[in-house]
């Protein structure tokens, strides 16, 4: 028998009697856990653990996003989601992983500024050239399975995007 909520096989079967009517509930392991049912003991624990881990991971990420806030202005990510407005420049660092997706989606996949900079473009141009080189080196390192070198290059790329010039390599 199929789960009431998806196409998987149901492992929890229950008849719920409320007043004069009775309804039958059939749920797979995943939906049974989500609905708070104890699982039957014949379900192999090895089958359940990855699902539980997945649920915990998703819920953990959601909780992290909900509670994450900007140290400079105190804006929470949840508050940002409601208005679409950030509170201060530091919010860009505080919500970087989530903002990367939002900005890239809104900007047709673009993830880096390539235009003018307050210093007249000299510094920005230097960073762009360096970034292009590091990205080429990173591709080469991954292709050659040089993972230690790839990790180092990733760190350098990350440092390049830091707003603090002191962290900028080169």
């Amino acid at each position: 028998m199929k789960c009431d909520q998806c196409e998987k096989a149901a492992i929890v079967h229950e008849t719920v009697i409320k007043g004069p009517s009775a309804t039958e509930v059939h749920l797979c392991a995943e939906h049974a856990i989500a609905a708070g049912y104890p699982l039957p003991i014949d379900q192999p624990i090895a089958d359940i653990m990855p699902k539980l881990a997945e649920i915990a991971k998703v819920e953990g990420t959601k909780l992290k996003e909900r509670t994450q806030s900007c140290v400079a202005c105190g804006l929470t990510f949840t508050a940002f989601r409601k208005t679409g407005m950030l509170g201060c420049p530091a919010c860009y660092e505080a919500f970087m992983p989530m903002l990367e997706q939002i900005i890239s989606r809104a900007q047709g996949g673009a993830t880096h500024h390539l235009g003018q900079s307050p210093d007249g473009g000299v510094e920005a141009e230097r960073i762009q050239i360096l970034r292009a080189k590091l990205m080429r080196d990173l591709d080469a390192a991954i292709s050659a399975e040089q993972y230690e070198r790839a990790a180092k290059l990733r760190d350098e790329l990350k440092a390049l995007d830091s707003p603090d010039p002191a962290k900028t390599p080169g």
Binding site: A72, C73, L75, T83, G84, M85, L86, G87, C88, P89, C91, Y92, L99, I102, I103, A106, Q107, G108, G109, A110, T111, H112, H113, L114, G115, Q116, S117, P118, E123, A124, I127, L160, D161, S162, P163, T168
Partner: protein
Amino acid sequence: MNPAQPFSAAMSQIGPDCDVVVTSRVRLARNISGFPFLPRASNPVRQEILRVVRRAVDRCPRQVGANEGSEGGGGLRWIDLPSANSRDRILLSERHLVSRQFANAEGPRALALSTDEQSSVMVNEEDHLRIQSLCAGSRLPDAFESAFKLEHSLAETMSFSFHPRWGYLTACPTNVGSGIRMSAMLHLPGIVIMKQVDQVKRAARDLHVAVRGYYGEGSESIGDFFQFSNQNTLGSPEKQLLEEFHSVVLPRLIGYERDARVAAVARHHTRIMDIVHHALGNLISRYHQKADDATKDLSRVRFGVVMGLLPIDLSLVQRLLLQVQPAHLSIIDPRALEGDLMEREVRASLLRQAFAPPETEKG
């Protein structure tokens, strides 16, 4: 803004490709380093932002506020919005110098405006500064140049929030990067008559261009006027974004409209003549006119003028499109402030006088 000279605004002038393009605008979003963005800025902080921007504006060289070829000269005047009267605030939004939301908002905010009204800076709008340049017709490169000239001049006195990866930081993260928004207001009666609006909106979406109404974001199209603006602000140099919008997007949109006009006149000639002359008839004969109805009729007359179907000067139509708006109307005749009925009478009278021969006008 100078109510005594109400026709210096780009909205009331004509320029290149004016049969389709009414105005072109370039707007740059900037925030000052060290301050929170507007949503988290208290009124004292907003006052401090005004003070910092005003100091920078006062130090701008006089020629900075002037566009290439403009007659009015430069220099920026400071208009404190909370202390301006409501008519003047509406006047600014009718000239498309500020958004309606900004005109009616609360809290410390200002507009620094050049004498020729083509360059301006909105202070404490969605971002600390919205530096903009507005030109008549298809003149995006001119608007681009003067907006950046003003931006560079302001940057001499203040520093803008900038991130090496994200570029200029904005309150709304989707404006980040160059912070540049280029837009053109287009008159598209041909596309409307040929029922191609949805097709054009789809084409615009494919070109990463947003379509908005007569008064920008959140407004409806009135009189077949639509605003088109670039959506992408990140990942390309500013000049490339300008090149794409001015040399690829705009010519394509202008081409759609001109093709639609030719097809409309070829296939529905008598219907077009009827629409255009009926609108002119309304303007000549009505004794009460609502602002939106007047805009619609003027739009149809504009269509007739640019198609050579009506022997009327386009600059007259363009001027009237601005003058029939409530705040502008009240400058011409203060009786327009005496209630809706009187406003409609004043508007109808203005239009009759503009289009009818003087001897036919009675009372």
